[in-house]
């Protein structure tokens, strides 16, 4: 059976759908220019679980659970679910960790970089340019034989672990529901102000997450692969998806009056362009070495890829460090500690790229 969503029309359709839904999520309560941000949302989840205590970014984002579970459902529906592990999990953990540090210096993953631009935040241009440079560096390693080795097939139950964790988070949320004005409900933290306090209603977030997870699993939508394939293979397939998402979000933002062009006073953003750029160089490089953007890692986790799940756990731990150690930027800009971490991250990723290759 032909996979219609993996065709050119399919990927464009998926990109348009994601762009529209992201814009609507903002209308329905998510933070401005943050309809979907995989890095920010994983960071918010880390906070909701109390693994960092930045009070303004704590919310167990149902979109993320939806991404994984939607992909899980699609993988089973189309007989693609396949449990696999063993391709350098520790390295993927480190890559996830530093991808998160880089993304939080810029204040967004590639998804949000595109959505920020679609909302008129021109600072995102520097982030996107950095992303492309990071991916370009990654492709040089790929051309020189960089390879994290093969995974192997394993017990079906192994592939279920990550989706079950996501389901558990959802159950946790049902038993510890948000209480207006309260910073804690049972074991979960809920922001009462700041980006963490802004969110669409639970069922809308979850529903949209499930839809996107399902569509992205089928179409292999990937924001890093979009740029990587253009540089590496001169292939525009995935790129069409990313551009479609940007255009659809832009048009929707115009219609919904969510387009505010400029550099200054953009929501959850700063104007330190050197660090906007550099943060995304680090994130782009880490995504490329790991073979997927943060969204793609979630979708792969849903279809049984245990190594992608380890990357996501690396992002979660990275988010904890980012806020506990003051590495994440804020509207005021990047921090000195963040800049130090950025360089440690770049050196680590370069060492991974240089030392983990097969000799031809």
């Amino acid at each position: 059976m032909k996979n219609l969503l993996a065709t050119k029309r399919g990927i464009v359709g998926v990109g348009v759908t994601i762009g529209i839904l992201a814009s609507l999520l903002q209308l329905w309560g998510n933070p401005a220019n943050m309809g979907i941000c995989v890095a920010c949302f994983v960071r918010d989840m880390t906070g909701a679980l109390g693994l960092h205590r930045a009070a303004v970014v704590q919310y167990l984002r149902p979109e993320i659970m939806g991404f994984v579970l939607g992909s899980f459902i699609a993988a089973y529906a189309f007989k693609e679910f396949k449990s696999r592990v063993g391709s350098a999990p520790l390295v993927r953990f480190i890559l996830g960790f530093f991808a998160m540090i880089g993304a939080l210096i810029f204040l967004g993953c590639p998804w949000r970089a595109v959505l920020r631009l679609s909302g008129g935040d021109f600072n995102a241009i520097f982030g996107l340019f950095g992303l492309a440079v990071g991916i370009w560096i990654g492709t040089l390693f790929l051309k020189n034989g960089y390879n994290l080795g093969s995974s192997h097939k394993t017990y079906t139950s192994v592939g279920w672990i990550f989706p079950v964790i996501m389901l558990s988070f959802l159950i946790l949320m049902f038993f510890n529901p948000i209480i207006t004005g309260e910073a804690k409900s049972g074991v979960l933290f809920y922001s009462v102000e700041g980006p963490g306090s802004m969110h669409a209603p639970l069922f809308i977030s979850l529903g949209i997450g499930l839809i996107i997870g399902f569509l992205a699993q089928r179409s292999r939508f990937c924001t890093m692969g979009a740029i990587r394939d253009v540089i590496l293979f001169k292939q525009t397939h995935l790129f069409m998806g990313l551009v479609s998402m940007a255009v659809a979000a832009f048009v929707m933002n115009l219609i919904l009056n969510q387009f505010n062009p400029g550099f200054e006073n953009q929501p959850i953003a700063h104007t330190m362009q050197v660090w906007n750029f550099s943060g995304m160089v680090l994130a782009g490089l880490a995504f490329t070495l790991a073979g997927g953007c943060p969204g793609r890692q979630l979708f792969l986790s849903g279809e049984g890829d245990g190594d992608a799940a380890v990357f996501v756990i690396g992002m979660l731990v990275g988010a904890g460090f980012a806020h506990n150690f003051g590495l994440a930027s804020s509207g005021a800009g990047a921090t000195m500690a963040g800049i130090i971490a950025l360089f440690i991250g770049l050196v680590s990723c370069l060492l991974i790229g240089f030392t983990m290759k097969e000799s031809f």
Binding site: N3, A6, K82, S87, S150, S151, F233, Q235, H237
Partner: protein, 73 residues
């Protein structure tokens, strides 16, 4: 057989890189690529087609796919 590329278990974009390297070397003839996910199957087929190769046959073998690519002289 040296016209067989075993890309099973490799994550994106390794199967495509290996296929394109082999295509560059072989120029024409027959290549067999082994992959174990549907995504890799699609990606390899798409990349080979873009290079003017024909996806002659895709066989499902156990848990993997055997993709037969061909380009005539």
């Amino acid at each position: 057989m040296n016209n067989t590329i075993d890309a099973k278990g490799l994550s994106c974009p390794q199967p495509v890189i290996l296929t394109l390297n082999a295509i560059k070397k072989a120029k024409t003839g027959e290549l067999i690529v082994l992959v174990d996910t549907q995504t890799s199957k699609e990606n390899v087929s798409r990349a080979a087609t873009a290079k003017g190769w024909k996806v002659e046959e895709v066989q499902a073998v156990n848990d993997s796919y055997k993709i037969i690519l061909r380009k005539e002289n």
